[in-house]
Structure formats: C-alpha cells, structure tokens
Symmetry: C2
Subunit: 341 residues, 2 copies
C-alpha cells in the first residue's frame, strides 16, 4: 500500500506567556508519511487516532518546571487522553478493531507497546466516542471521584462550582443537584451561564460581569466549594463559607495562565473549621471506577445527564483549541476530532 | 469584714499596631475594693482567681473586626481561660472550695451565675493548678483533639511542628513521638530549641537563624504539618509535603501580629493531594474529652509527658506577658498567677 500522510502536532518551544502560540510553541506538520500495512510494530499495535481531549494541563506539560507532570519532548508530538481504534496488532492483548482509551499522540496514527496503558472501551450504550474523553472520560472521572470522595453532601446544603460549564464543572453541577443541594455556579460567558441554567443550577452568574463575592454573600453561605479556579474565587469562597465547609481542590486554572492571585484570608480555614481536599484523578479514580462505569454512561445515554462539547476538526487547529480552553472561550468540553473509522 | 482590694486589668483601647500597650490598650487598676463576705451574689458564686491563661487569641479579642470571637468591652476586665476557687456560692451546683475551670476575669475576684460555663476540676493527681490552663488546659486540649482527629499518623512518617515549644506545640511534639514519627520542630529562640530536643524532637531548629524551607528540604518530605503559624511556614510545608500529607491548621499567629504573608504555592494542595483541616478546640474537644482526661493528667504526673510554663505573678504585668506570648519571647506556656488559696 502506498504510504499515507500522518499529520502531527509537534511541541517545538516552551511558551513564555500565558498561552501557547500556534506555529511557534507547537507546530503542525503534514509532511510525515506512514505505511500502515508495513510499518514495523515490534510486538506492538498501530492505533488510528479518533478523538483527543484538550485540557488545561496540556499547557502545564509544556513547562519543565511543572515537575508533577511529564514534560513534552521537543520535536515530538504532544499527547493527551484520547480514543483510538486499533488497525494492526502484534500484541495478544489488543485486537484489531479495539477502541482504546488512554494516552494518545497528537498524530493521525501512532504505535504503542503496552496494552496495560489502555482501557478497551465497550461502549454498550453506543455513545459518541468523544464522550469517552469528556463526560465519561477524564473530566467526568475527575468530577465523579472527587465528588464521591470528598463532598459529603447533605440535602439542602449549598454548593458553589467554578468553571461550572466545563467538562468537570458541568457534571458537578448535575451531581450536586441530584444530591439535593442548592447549586451556585459561575462561568465566564453569558452563553455558558445559559448552559448552567439548563443543567439545573439554582444560581448561575458570569464572573466577568457579576462579582463572585457579592453573589456568594447573597446566596451563601456555602457548604461545599468545588474549586476549578483558585485565586480570587477561592478567596471569595473562604469568605462566605459555612462552618465545617468542604473545599474540593480540583484545579487552579487562574494561576495557570497568569501570575497566581494570592489568597488573603486563609485564616478562615481555622475560624470556619474548613476541610480542604486536594486530589488527583489518577490516584482517586480506581476506587470509584466500578460505580462510575455502572452509573454514568447509562445516565448520559438516557439524557438524564447532559453534556456539551466544543469540537475542533483535525490537528491543524488543535493549538487554537487549547488556547480557547485556557481562555475559557470554548463552549463545552474541548475535543479534537482527528480521524474517522 | 473590711473590703479588700480587687486588682484588675481593664481593656481600655483597641491596639493599633502588632501588640497591646500596657497603660494604653490595657490598664492596671488597683483602686477597686470588694467586700468578700457581703457582696451580693444574686444566686451566683464568688470566685477567687488563681491562674489565667495568656494566649495569642486575647489580642484577637481586642479587635472588633475579628467577628469570630467576642470582643472585649471597653472599660471592663479582660477574660480568658483560667482557674479559680469558689469562696462563696448561692448556686446549688457550685460549692465553696470547688476549683472551676473556664472563663475567668482578669481581676482577683469575680462573680458568675452559670455553673454550666465551668468545669469543676478534681485534680486527683494533685498537679499544679496552672497545668489546667496549659498542658491539660486549652492548649493541651487543642493539641490532643486536633492530633487525634486529623493527624492519622503512621509509624515512620515525618511530622513538622511550628511553634513547637509553645503550649500546643510541645504536646504535639510528644504525641507525634509517642506515635512513632520522626519529628521536626521549630521555635524562635535557641533556648526553646533546647527544650524541643528535651521533648524528643528528632530535628529542632531556630527559624530565625535557620531557614525553614532548607530544613524541611533536608529532613522532609513531611507527612503531617501541624500549623500554629501560617504564612511562610505554611508555604515551606506545602513546598516540601509528601503525597497525601495532612495539614492541621491550628493557628496562623504570623498573621495575627503582622500583615499576613501571602502563600504562593497553594497549587501543591492539588498536586500533592493534600488534606488541610482547620479546627476549633471548642467544637472538637467534646468528642475527645473522655480520652483526654483519662490519659493526659496521669502522663504529666508521672513525668512521661513534659511541659514548661512561663509564669507572671500578678495582674500588673499581665499585658507584658501577652506581648511576650505574641512575640514568641515567653519561655513556655504563658500564665499569670493571680491569687493563692
């Protein structure tokens, strides 16, 4: 078979400012070819990339200083969670046609060796594959395991969710409502605020045009704070927390793209007897995995849980998709649709 | 009987700077008299003050802005935890000779009505009464209940204790050692560092002459951080915390006497999956009260647990004693010995 193009998005320079720059920090390359039928697998398997997840942590992996995540190698494709379909395999644990969920390269095809790095998805509910990097992928897993582990919700309590319209936040809003809470949620555009209301949030506001602290003063005190943002939002939540509030620290995106805002009122942790729990999904999810897959896909398939995604076609504009996610400008979970089956 | 002097320390002005000023913010008054035999009790009980506890929170109560604690009334005596002996009583629940533990006025005699505000101490071990405001008073109760509730210590782990030579910290050092931990403790004078070593701390340093972060880098990572200080110490602990570390937020004294230092690395809460627990002794102690009284007095009586106190005689220099506590210059638990039996 004649070799086909294997388009890629390469990491080419550490970003200096808040955002990566297409063509500079990351470079789209449409020159490499791959001979799908004959490329040596050396016991591995050849995957055709279907969907890539675009998440804020990708920016973090462009900086060597962020030692908690492996830094991308210069000149090599980025990677993130994604879904691919196996088109050739020399590994007995991986079959042609398997849909793999796990680390996928930002290229149209890639070869891997370790079956244990991937989960073979069944998708009994026949959901769009992109959901497996969103609502029931890493963001969904993050929301579900963090909430089940740390929220301890009691009916009638008040929850505040930042970045409520994002992949994680939109599930938190819905899980909190299902647990009988009053939900206050914020987002950065009026369109997202509309989505928050569709999700059932009792109070939804645009933090860019409506002061977070004032909203919380009016609608709180808050018993649970789901923090995707850090900085000023965390400060406002501390100021308006109820006694024995639970703060679940999922992300501090405000510090990822700008100088971190320094929180002034940590003393509230003591005065209000607050518990703050930081967590990482990779460590926490295994404990909640069984319940997650038993519960969530069916709820999305039936429409009882809602989701929204902002899909970009092809790798050429994947950097722009990442910038949109970092700016909070994407309208739903950011995904890049790379190949078709 | 001829009336006797009832010397008092009055709250007379909100402090502006870091410390109260004797004669200005607080005024010693040796003009009031009391007729012990005839003063009207109106169903209450007359208490002779024996010991008063001098703690940082007293400064907080001089500021109306600290809404979590009742502010002292201008022109009235301060109060804090203390021990007094009952010399007259019209309350059936309180007997003459009872030793009461609870809120005591900064004066030689005072009258109260509610028996339920006080604990009648037995002192089977015949310990000095001052221990009941220190090692087995509020500081001891704070240390014990916070540690038992939130530390989850595992043998061989590393604990870091700030203000380790103080009333709370010195018990934490010893509890952590009894739980089989490696204990790193800091204090602000070389004399206190010597005391920390006497208490069994594996590593003790003077944070004024030896950098906290460098010490923790060398001796950590830390699994448990007992925070009495906040600010830069909290930042250093976050920087050197182990995965799944527990931070117990007991106090942030560094922010009480100066502009709070703003912590820059809260993101570590997420990366290291840290749990931060704020608590207040009044809420938490009841759960641990029985175990506390069953366990601790005997251990102090036998000398298995050690303590140190810095006693001031009489109310005239009680403000200086508070300043010393706030400056970290007192050498052991600050107490004022007011009267004798």
């Amino acid at each position: 078979m004649t070799p086909v193009l294997n388009r890629r998005l390469l990491f080419t320079e550490e970003p200096i400012g808040r955002y990566p720059t297409p063509g500079k920090t990351t470079t789209y390359d449409a020159t490499q070819e791959i001979d799908i039928d004959n490329v040596a697998l050396n016991g591995g398997f050849l995957v055709k990339t279907l969907v890539l997840s675009i998440d804020p942590y990708i920016k973090g992996r462009m900086h060597a200083a962020n030692a908690h995540l492996p830094t991308y190698a210069l000149g090599k494709p980025l990677d993130s969670y994604g879904i691919g379909v196996v088109i050739r395999s020399e590994n007995p644990d991986i079959k042609v046609g398997d849909h793999l969920y796990g680390s996928c390269s930002f290229e149209e095809h890639f070869i891997r060796n370790r079956a244990s790095d991937y989960l073979v998805l069944e998708n009994k509910e026949n959901l769009p594959w992109s959901l497996y990097v969103g609502a029931i992928g890493l963001p969904g897993q993050t929301a579900y395991s963090g909430w089940k582990e740390h929220a301890n919700p009691k009916k009638g309590e008040v929850a505040f969710v930042t970045a409520g319209a994002g992949g994680v936040g939109s599930l938190i809003v819905q899980l909190a409502k299902r647990d009988g809470l009053k939900v206050i949620a914020s987002a950065g555009t009026d369109e997202k605020v509309g989505f928050l209301k569709d999700l059932g949030a009792d109070v939804a506001f645009n933090y860019k045009t409506s002061d977070t602290l004032e909203n919380l003063k009016k609608e709180g005190p808050i018993d649970i704070y789901w923090d995707n943002v850090g900085g000023q939002s965390l400060e406002a939540a501390l100021a308006t927390a109820n006694t024995k509030a639970r703060f679940i620290e999922c992300g501090m995106i405000s510090g990822l793209t700008s100088e971190p805002y320094l929180v002034k009122n940590l003393m509230n942790i003591i005065i209000k007897q607050i518990t703050i729990s930081g967590f990482l999904v990779n460590t926490l999810f295994p404990k909640h995995k069984k319940a997650f897959y038993a519960e969530l896909p069916a709820l999305f398939a039936s429409g009882e849980l809602k989701y929204k995604e902002d899909a970009t076609n092809g790798l050429e504009e994947a950097t722009e998709a990442l910038v949109a996610v970092l700016k909070g400008a994407s309208n739903g979970k950011g995904v890049v649709l790379v190949g078709k089956e």
